[in-house]
Amino acid sequence: MSKVYETVIGLEVHVELATKTKIFCGCSTAFGGAPNTHTCPVCTGMPGSLPVLNKEVVNKAIAVGLATNCTITRNCKFDRKNYFYPDNPQNYQISQLYYPICRDGKVEIEVDGKKKYIGIHEIHMEEDAGKLIHDAYTDSSLVDFNRSGVPLIEIVSEPDMRSADEVLAYLDKLRTTIQYLGASDCKLNEGSMRADVNLSIREVGAEEYGTRTEMKNLNSFKAIARAIENERERQIDLLEAGKEVVQETRRWDDTKEYSYAMRSKEDAQDYRYFPDPDLVPIVISDEWLEEIRSKQPEFREEKKARYQEEYGLPEYDADILTGTKKLADIFEETIALNANPKKVSNWLMVETMRLLKEKEMEPEDITFSAANLAKLIQLTDDQAINSTVAKEVFEKIFAEDIDPAQYVEEKGLKTVNDEGALRATIEQVIADNPQSVADYRNGKEKAIGFLVGQTMKAMKGKANPGMVNQILKELL
């Protein structure tokens, strides 16, 4: 009889903090500059340069720690992690090993209606490395230090997850929490959130953990799910064949859907951590903690409950709207401009979601403003445009954030409420469609729909549908 296995998963999640400057120097963290244009002696490891800590990094790390129920280390320090690699300008990374800023936290996740806590072992602050670009022409590598020194936190979970679904729920929880804090935009595809998966297999009921591997290069939720499934099978196959799992770091190739061991005889995994003598301890007082605590935002769960209670939204809608900070922000900003919450929700839930899906975008990629959505809702409330036109205008807002009032004016999309003009058009439609008129008069109520459609078509969709119906019935 074959054995029953259990997958044990722990995550190391790196999150780039949304600060203006790097962790140890005054260089910009802005994305997309030409190589090495955001560098200075500190983040290129020039001899004689020294790090000075960006306070905002500590603030954000504490905020994430509090939001994930961690204990904040009141006296924390930085250590050096020594390893040679060209993207690491000093050949040591400034990180935290002995006194990480947060420890012993937990977050609640829900999978298939079942709630569960995932423990957080620690959160530490560290600097990001630069980027290596392969130069095919010379078959060499080019080093860009623009990302070198960008602040990161690494969130290390306990090995509490048992399935890919739990992993995704945990990641989603971390992502929304951190986005709500404004501590990071957490985009996996752009690398501002990166997850390494530690996975091992054991027989159900076993107390000891199996040998684990660490999987790197996971750039999307889908890749994570695939890699977990693949690694689980790989390890089970090894065990079933009487072989041993080797503790190693593996790299996931999502296009080929397989992983391979990252090994080099030139590297020993011995980082020789020791306290960085160039930096002084961080002492976190009660006042400091209180200040950050008092500025913590309303998180997803609280927001979701409030949306249901305050705006009468269904749970499903409240769940989607609070699923990303971006959507919740637009929702609240639009309401703040006196738009009806249910109507705002409707635009976000239906048209926005449809367009996101169609264009393969994430809610974080939304660029339209609350102001223009509010104006659009106002235009429909005023019956200045009908719903067909409104949808068309919204697509423009979604794509280019245009001012709907101006757009409607310029394109002449305003609903025609002029009874005389409508009556004239309808009379023409009746005259042109004697069969439908006859059908209607013979009791085929549905025939009026065709006549409404013809009228709208003749009016280029701008007719006030209520008035069209009313006048048609009257004339028939």
Binding site: P41, P47, G48, N91, R272, Y273, P277
Partner: protein, 489 residues
């Protein structure tokens, strides 16, 4: 022009228009030219830049824009401090082509005070050594005896001042690297409290121990220089603003009531008899001037060197990782791949002593040995600091020798590293405890070689050291090495 002037004396003459800044710079540059073949105190001599700068500074002085005591006075900078655009080598092949993109804060402060930099001085490679023999640019010789070492690692700075190639210089001190060469060369050198002077731009050896300080002819100069270079720097997290930084105010010939302790444990086995006699005689002078002098047991003296070499080597192994042939400095000519490039670059670029310490440092930090060596050393450091704290409850100043002997013969210590390390017995504990210390000449042995006296004080109490050493200095005459007199212009 009299090259035997102190920096402050020369500054006065410049201020009084007795000597122009260009004249002063030229005189010292000529002196360097005349003596370098024999002394080799410099890695880089910047005649052109110095003369141009001298004219500029003269203008600033004439316009009343620079008024300090060092305005217009030439200076040499140890070659481990970065100067924008000027070759900065740490006396290593691996940095033999390196021109920094910024200037060290301490050097910037001197420039703001009107200093004219004439060049960069030789040193033990990456400040690792006590003789200046490990330099890629050849050894520096002691102006008192050209067959002897000048001490190290700031041997170039100390020899340049003693040889009157320059009125003063900056050095750096990680385990005695200012005080010991000052002692060997018969000049005055000061290691400030850790944190007093910014380390920004100082190419690190042991970051928790390194400190920049002055090497000059007398205590007055040291006080004036320290006043110019000290202070909190936003670029160095470990630099601080502490009271008691009006160092020149402590230049008083008055030690009445000053409590001076002499550690008995500094006068045991290994200390040269002539050195001992000279140091004890200095104590006597201070006692006669009204200080309360007393012997005591400091304890833990023999543990300072082991703890120091573990901590300094560990930090150095990490600090020197950045020299890899990628961003700056030497890169090996041929290589097969990345790691081969790293290894060849570093193996060809570093000298034997640096490699020795990198290997030791990497080992003591490696998995399985970290606690036994590195953490043990940090605990020992705490105990040593406590021993000093206890001593400073009773004494304002601790007095002792700088080194067990006077300057050694060239080549004598290179063959046996540990023997060389033992020469640091009186200096390294000061760095471990982060204390300020001074070294000044207190006599000459039967070979005519200078003997150094070391005075220590509490954290940020440089003024007590300055007060005691200034008082002592009033009772002795500054001697010039025959070499400087003979080769003088």
């Amino acid at each position: 022009m009299d090259l035997n002037l102190t920096a402050v004396e020369l500054g006065k003459k410049i201020k009084n228009k007795e000597i122009s800044v260009v004249e002063a710079a030229s005189a010292y540059l000529d002196s360097i030219e005349a003596k370098e073949k024999e002394i080799n105190a410099f890695v880089t001599i910047d005649r052109e830049g110095a003369l141009k700068r001298a004219e500029e500074v003269q203008g600033l002085i004439d316009a009343g824009k620079v008024t300090g005591p060092l305005a217009g006075v030439p200076v040499a900078i140890k070659d481990n401090m970065c100067i924008d655009g000027m070759l900065t080598t740490c006396s290593s092949k691996i940095l033999s082509n390196f021109k920094p993109a910024f200037t060290a804060t301490a050097v910037e402060k001197l420039q703001a005070a009107g200093a004219v930099i004439v060049g960069k001085t030789n040193m033990d490679e990456f400040a690792m050594g006590s003789t200046t023999e490990t330099s890629f640019y050849g050894e520096t010789k002691n102006p008192w005896d050209l067959t002897r070492v000048p001490g190290g690692s700031s041997g170039g700075s100390a020899a340049a001042v003693a040889a009157e190639e320059v009125p003063y210089a900056l050095g750096s001190d990680t385990g005695g690297s200012i005080r010991q060469p000052a002692g060997f060369c018969g000049v005055t050198g000061m290691k400030p409290t850790y944190g007093r002077v910014s380390r920004y731009g100082l190419i690190a050896y042991g970051s928790s121990l390194d400190q920049i300080g002055p090497i000059a002819k007398d205590v007055t100069d040291c006080a004036a220089i320290l006043e110019a270079i000290s202070g909190k720097d936003d670029k160095d997290s470990t630099s601080v603003k502490e009271a008691g930084d009006d160092f020149m105010a402590a230049l008083t010939d008055d030690v009445k009531g000053l409590r001076i302790g002499i550690p008995r444990d500094y006068f045991g086995e290994g200390l040269d008899a002539e050195v001992k006699a000279a140091v004890m005689a200095a104590a006597k002078v201070l006692e006669e001037k009204g200080a309360e002098v007393e012997e005591f047991d400091l304890s833990l003296v023999e543990y300072a060197i082991p703890a120091y070499y573990i901590i300094a080597s560990a930090e150095a192994s990490s600090n020197l990782e950045r020299f890899d042939g990628v961003k700056y400095g030497y890169r090996t000519a041929e290589f097969t791949d990345l790691h081969n490039m790293y290894k060849k670059t570093r193996s060809e670029g570093f000298g034997p002593e640096v490699k020795r310490r990198i290997m030791l440092g990497s080992f003591v930090l490696s998995s399985g040995y970290f606690d036994a060596y590195y953490m043990k050393a940090l605990r020992t450091k705490a105990l040593i600091k406590q021993a000093f704290d206890r001593a400073f409850e009773k004494y304002d100043v601790i007095l002792g020798p700088v080194a067990p002997t006077t300057a050694l013969k060239l080549g004598e210590s290179l063959s046996d590293p540990i023997k060389m390390y033992l020469g640091d017995v009186y200096t390294v504990s000061v760095n471990l405890a982060g204390l300020p210390g001074i070294s000044l000449p207190c006599g000459y042995d039967s070979n005519g070689l200078p003997i150094g006296l070391q005075l220590l004080a509490r954290h940020f109490d440089e003024k007590s050291i300055i007060r005691a050493s200034y008082a002592f200095e009033q009772s002795r005459e500054y001697k010039r090495p025959a070499f400087a007199v003979e080769r003088g212009l």
